[in-house]
Subunit: 669 residues, 2 copies
């Protein structure tokens, strides 16, 4: 059984890597840019859609408002990037927002940021892969309706790749992102050219009209209109995730790390702004209509739309309008979008286990998340992320508009606390800096972070205010639950550490007075003889064989056999009026401890090692119970003396069977 | 957690009984009769129904054939009883059919009988309690439709009573059976009187007409008619179960055991015949109509029957016709029928665990079924029976006509093999007996058993032939699976016994050459110090502390602390390029064993004892894996040195916390 699972693991994951392989060359800027940008850039695959379909609730006319919403989001992006360029110079170690919040605002703020980021990393995978699955469906319409399966397949592939430690090829990771930027830029330029010359086509959905939601009968007017625009802004701010990637990965950059990270951040902001705004303006120009539910919310010539209409994402419709429906350009855009979305998810497959490992080292998560697996990845973290993402995908049927409601909350909690931490950081710096020119620079930096804090806090309030009832409550709940678990676990580890720390009263050289060995005998067979000889070999001060008399017939047989074999160990029969094994044994041990409290009692238990799973059910049950029970007795050591049954040989190829060390009777001491 | 489950068990089951309580006074004949008859007599609660509703497939006229079918069944009953009276005299020890088949036909026949009986004991509970639930519903029509819940409640109550060891009151068990016999006899006598005076009423279902099944358009004619009569006979033979009870319980009877058992058998046959035949004749006289599905198979004045009609069992309808619908007599019959059905199931709750315990002692079932629980019942057997019966009840929704299709197969397999065994037994006796008069008696006995064998074999063929496709295949499958499991387990136990038996090459006094102690160190904390001092107390020939270098930072911290504390034990660092713990440790142990093959290696592993379930998830995972892995290494003893965390105190009230025996440093050796 073991060996089958082992073999499966070897096939999927490959042979283990040696620890030395961890050392890697630092990452050059021109490779870092695409790799660190994938997450932020990938959001143009779904963020424009979200803005437009939220506005579409107020009808076709309202959708023309989308480029303005996009512009607002980009302003926020640029402010965040400017303030992050400050942070990265102050904290160039790669600890990211978690470190900034912990150091400046205390460990509870750090835990909050960590919980928020963990939740959002899971959502990055769920949203990116769900979105990618819709692009796959745009290319292969036969898969329509099976998006959850497609997305699950994507997560599983990424999981296996990450467990294998593949996807570390820098060039392989950078190329698709550069290609994606290139192709989208070409598309936008062509689109601009066509628009200028008046030859721009229309999107497949241009002929439809949008049916406004009954809640918005007069378009974007009144308070309801303002709230809808805020909601569009809030969902569109999904475009802001991934900005934290460079700051969390400074440490793997080539020197000068902080300056390179700042440059990468600036370029990332530039590309994100151009691509997002370009896409949103052109989408309006080719009259893209996207809605939540096409069959209900779209009309064609006053009647229902064709039954076989599949609503493709905005980027896909744009490519169709500019390159043509079955053209190379169209498929190239789809394929590269899927690649960049996978890269975004892949970024989370690095960030989540990395953060989890940091947290485990600090005692906020179980230690299992700390250790590297066979291929040097944090396997347990990778698996946890993968399982959580798949659960989310199935919970929401890979539906991006629903998943996006949960998204961004975590990132903005983290942004906001990190900016607050930076403000405190500059305040402390100011107090220690007498030089006026340096003080002026610090003042400027602090102003930038204050601006960043105000903006991210405002976005957080907007996000929570407009989306809490639409699903964001689940993200908040997730963050809260994670926080509570991490906090409880940390306190547990701290308690245990205190309890186990060696203090001056502990002596490293003290020994128990004497050792009293007890050998548990059920019937006189080979395993008992072995347990006896092992117990005697440890030369205890006193040794006793113990029979618990739960079945008088069996006890008498045991005693008879004992006498017949002339075993040179006294045997004690413990009465058991209630046919129990543990209770009389423990009573006996306590009476020994009462008589000589400083003695150590070692209980030798013969145990079978079986090969087939069902054999475990018919053997060792009593031994197991006794062992568990004895664990709670102070001053008792339980020594298992294993006896391998013949069947155990088949399941373990290693080692010879029962090659007992007592083969030669001449060795008697 | 432990203590909560313990408390629940105490409330349900009560305080344990001492083993001495097992000794009981022998059972007098006048108490044995009702107790041993309950199972056989209870079948008049459902057997007449089954005969009539099978015949009803051929229409109303066919139902008048039912008393004749009942007569045929009673003839079989009397032959079985006559031959059983032979068996009980030859095998008066209470081993029953299992013993007779094993001794005379070999262990495989015995195993077959045992498997068949176990299956039928489960079915006795399922059928009796399901039938009882319909009588409860006849008294409380509001429960209609919830028969499976009522039946489950019945099984649970019986289970708890049997686990408590209650229901051993002889008088309490005997009284309801006597009362039942009395009330039914009174009812039959009254019915006969009314019939003679022409004042006999009619049953609630007398006004309905039966719609014949389309398969039987001309009533009981042709081959189809013959087969239907055989099927009615076959389902009605459920009345024959329970006849084996006296022979399986001879040993608890008062002396002379065999003669008393024979008398009980004769009286049991007499009562069963009178009650069954009386019920079936009177049921025709009051024109009872019972069918499988009343709404489909019954008509009233050519139209559908009233929608709220609930079909009560035959005995209930008879009581209603003779005593009146809401009379004391009616409710008395219902209540006593339920009591006798419960008694029948209760009989199985004795027989099943008893047989299972015999089988476990002989190595055909897991040893857990052999031991008596707190209240001296075979608790594991009781629970197994209970679970199996509840599964059957829910599988068939407590529907007696469906369950009965599975029933009787096992009993007749057992009857037939036991009769065959008796024939062989008499043959052997004849060969050893020269005395002519004794030989004549043996010849007579053998003739009786031959007649019994032919009859039971014929019934078995009829049962299988008419019911195999209706559900009996499931019983056959159950018997076959049980047989295979028991046979495999027996062979396993025999193999292990052979493997573990002590032979002349084993020496009871040989000892390993030297003991090499290894103490596994992860970090230098109190549990490690304790493991070290315990290991040193056992005065090994050689002792080593072992650090596996899976994490170089941690290893260095450990070594530094080791030096700082001045621990007087050498520490060995094992390299672990693949960050594993077990593999380097096992490699190290093997190299020790290579150098000195006759050494015993004892690995001391510090282990935490935790109190809360989730703590088990964050501690000991590595220790567990290492222990499991070391079990497969020959010549290695694993000694767990437990350290109780503070939290473990709350879950176990016993014992003081970590009262370590190394408190006094003056005890240094």
């Amino acid at each position: 059984m073991l060996s089958f699972l082992d073999a499966l693991k070897r096939i999927l994951v490959g042979r283990p890597f040696r620890t030395e392989r961890l050392k890697q060359a630092p990452l050059r800027k021109r490779l870092a840019l695409p790799i660190f940008s994938a997450s932020a850039l990938s959001s143009i695959a779904y963020a424009p859609d979200e803005v437009m379909l939220t506005l579409a609730l107020a009808g076709s006319a309202a959708m023309s408002f989308s480029p303005s919403v996009g512009l607002a989001i980009m302003v926020v992006l640029l402010v965040i990037i400017a303030s992050y360029r400050q942070s990265v110079k102050a904290y160039p170690s790669g600890g990211g927002d978690y470190q900034i919040a912990s150091v400046n605002l205390g460990p509870r703020a750090g835990t909050t940021v960590a919980a928020a980021l963990l939740v959002d990393f899971v959502l990055t995978v769920a949203v990116s892969i769900s979105s990618a699955s819709h692009y796959v469906i745009a290319a292969f319409p036969a898969l329509a309706g099976h998006q959850a399966w497609v997305a699950t397949a994507g997560v599983v592939i990424l999981t296996v790749l990450n467990l294998r430690g593949s996807g570390r090829s820098k060039l392989g990771a950078a190329a698709p992102v550069y290609l994606f930027i290139g192709v989208v830029l070409v598309m936008l330029a062509l689109g601009g050219l066509y628009a200028a010359t008046g030859t721009l086509g229309t999107s497949p959905s241009a002929g439809f009209t949008v049916v406004p939601d009954p809640d918005y009968p007069h378009g974007l007017t009144g308070l309801a209109g303002v709230l809808l625009v805020l909601r569009a802004f809030s969902t569109g701010s999904a475009a802001l995730t991934g900005v934290e990637v460079p700051i969390s990965n400074v440490h793997i950059l080539a020197a000068p790390k902080a300056r390179n990270a700042a440059k990468v951040l600036a370029l990332l902001g530039l590309f994100a702004a151009i691509l997002t705004l370009g896409t949103m303006y052109l989408a309006r120009a080719v009259k893209v209509n996207v809605v939540e539910d096409p069959t209900q919310d779209l009309m064609f010539n006053g009647g229902p739309i064709p039954a076989d209409y599949i609503q493709n994402p905005v980027l896909g419709q744009l490519a169709e309008a500019i390159f043509g429906g079955a053209s190379l350009g169209f498929y190239l855009v789809l394929a590269l979008t899927v690649a960049v979305l996978l890269m975004a998810a892949h970024t989370s497959f690095n960030s989540f286990p990395n953060l989890a490992s940091h947290l485990a080292t600090d005692g906020y998560l179980p230690r299992q998340l700390r250790t590297r697996g066979d291929r040097l990845g944090f396997s347990n973290g990778i698996l946890s992320l993968s399982i959580a993402a798949i659960v989310l995908i199935w919970l929401f049927n890979a539906d991006v508009p629903t998943l996006i409601q949960l998204y961004v909350v975590g990132v903005f909690v983290s942004f906001t606390l990190s900016q607050l931490g930076m403000i405190k950081h500059w305040g402390r710096e100011l107090a220690q800096t007498p030089d006026k020119r340096v003080r002026a620079r610090i003042h400027r930096s602090r102003m930038l972070n204050i601006a960043g804090f105000l903006m991210t806090a405002a976005v957080l309030v907007i996000v929570l205010g407009t989306r809490l009832i639409h699903g964001a409550w689940l993200a908040v709940l997730g963050i809260a639950v994670l926080f509570i678990l991490m906090d409880a676990l940390h306190r547990h580890y701290v308690d245990v550490d205190g309890e186990l720390a060696i203090d001056e009263r502990d002596s490293a050289t003290a020994l128990p007075a004497r050792v009293h060995a007890l050998v548990l005998v059920s019937s006189v067979r080979k395993p008992v003889l072995r347990a006896l000889s092992f117990a005697r070999a440890s030369r205890p001060s006193k040794i006793d064989a113990i029979v618990v008399d739960a079945d008088s017939e069996q006890t008498e047989a045991t005693l008879a056999k004992w006498a017949e074999l002339g075993i040179p160990v006294p045997i004690t029969v413990l009465a058991s009026p209630y046919r129990e094994i543990s209770a009389p044994l423990i009573e006996h041990i306590r009476s020994i401890k009462r008589d000589s409290p400083r003695d150590l009692v070692v209980v030798y238990i013969p145990e079978y090692v079986v090969g087939r799973w069902w054999e475990q059910l018919v053997h060792n049950q009593t031994a197991m119970r006794i062992k568990n029970r004895l664990h709670y007795e102070p001053g008792v050591v339980v020594a298992s003396v294993p006896w391998r049954l013949a069947s155990s040989d088949s399941s373990m190829s290693l080692g010879s069977l029962n090659s007992t060390p007592i083969s030669n009777p001449k060795d008697k001491p």
